[in-house]
Amino acid sequence: MSIQDDNILINEVLKGKISSFGLLIDKYQKPVYNLIFNMVEDEDQAKDIVQDVFIKVYEKLESFNFKHKFFSWLYRIAINDTINFLKNRKNFETLTEQNEIQEEKTTNDHKEEQRRQLHAALRELRTDHRVLILLKYFFGLSYEEISDVMKIQEKMVKARLFMAREKLREVLIKNKFFEHD
């Protein structure tokens, strides 16, 4: 389904065809949920945020600018809402992460262990760096698309992503993610 298809669906929703909004949910709920889940690391909280994001998108749909891509707009709303959520949860975050890490260390699966290490390293990144890494590697967005989502210049995207990568590798080396250590 292309960007044009998204625009057609949006126009249909604005004309009162609610089923078209259902199609947009079908298309984007999975990536949005996984983006949010990888930021908040909590299934129930991620689901709550996803619902709020789509409700907000529906409410603001008449202000959508068709010059932009729908998913950029959707991801931006999702990221901003999740960042706001994380700010409110900040006081509880450290304790939660520690508990999760304790639990995850019990697994013996090598692949799963590496996965856990990757997520643990991501959690150690600044929120904006984490978002950039997720958008780039989880969702495969181009610099231009990330620029559109984050509302920052493309060269700024490149500069920040460079720092985010360096930091991520540094953390992964520290956590013995690589075999060469």
Binding site: I18, F21, G22, F54, E59, R169, F177
Partner: protein, 260 residues
């Protein structure tokens, strides 16, 4: 220490942004630079892990919960209708029809009143100026008085108030008698013709009859009549009033109409 530019090129390669020529050149460089090669291999591994993560995206189905929470009425389409359709709706609506009838009624009322008002408040014309018009139907008070006669005797009492216009003669008659009397009204049929006899206040014992050239009233008690005659020619003519009792004349008199 790896050159920042080399690191950027490694990232671009991992991101798949370089063309076919550059990776070969880059790989030659990496072969000679173990530290840079390690960085390349590390990011290749990170990239692989991320791809695995992407393939293992968690499934979720929140569609129904979301649709249950949104305001379905928000984008209900408003029926857009053309200007002509809107006008048709207005003109054919019962409210408009009633309003139009009301306004039309007001205007017609004003129009009719303005016309009729002219007739009421208009300047009074002379008799000769309105000859042949409806002037004859004006009220008794506006007619010309011919005579007011009073007859009084022990047998009967009568008054004859006679007025006329160009086309009508109107006689108001009050007659009172203890015993039956007959009032005969005679006139020249070339000058007058009986038009109507109205019993304005008549008891059951009293009768009136008329023909084209006379009126006869047989009276007992107190009665009132209005006798209307058609005034045929506007020439000076007489109307005779005679009261009889047992066919014996008690009183006779005449009134001249169209006096010169």
């Amino acid at each position: 220490m790896i050159d920042q530019d080399i690191i950027r090129r490694i990232y671009r390669d991992i991101d798949g942004e370089l063309d076919f020529q550059v990776p070969a050149e880059l790989k030659n460089f990496l072969a000679k630079n173990p530290e840079a090669e390690q960085l390349y291999r590390d990011w290749a591994k990170i990239g692989e892990k991320f791809r695995e993560e992407k393939e293992n995206f968690r499934e979720v189905d929140l569609k129904q919960q979301i649709l249950n929470k949104i305001n379905m009425e928000k984008y209900v389409p408003s029926e857009k209708i053309s200007f002509s359709e809107k006008m048709q709706q207005v003109f054919f609506s019962p409210r408009f029809k009633i309003g139009f009838a009301f306004v039309l009624g007001i205007f017609l009322g004003i129009f009719a009143f303005s016309i009729l008002n002219q007739g009421v408040t208009g300047k009074k014309l002379k008799q000769q100026d309105v000859s042949g018009t409806m002037w004859d139907s004006r009220s008794y008070d506006d007619m010309v008085t011919a005579d007011n006669i009073l007859y009084e005797s022990p047998m009967a009492k009568a008054t004859f108030n006679v007025k006329y216009s160009t086309r009508l003669v109107e006689a108001h008659i009050n007659i009172s008698s203890l015993y039956p009397v007959k009032l005969a009204i005679n006139f020249d049929p070339n000058a007058f013709m009986t038009f109507n006899v109205q019993n304005t206040n008549v008891n059951a014992q009293t009768t009136a009859m008329s023909s084209y050239n006379y009126v006869e009233i047989n009276n007992v008690g107190d009665n009132q009549f209005v006798v209307l005659l058609y005034n045929k020619n506007n020439l000076s003519n007489k109307i005779n009033f005679t009261i009889y009792q047992n066919e014996i004349p008690l009183y006779t008199n005449s009134v001249t109409i169209n006096k010169e």
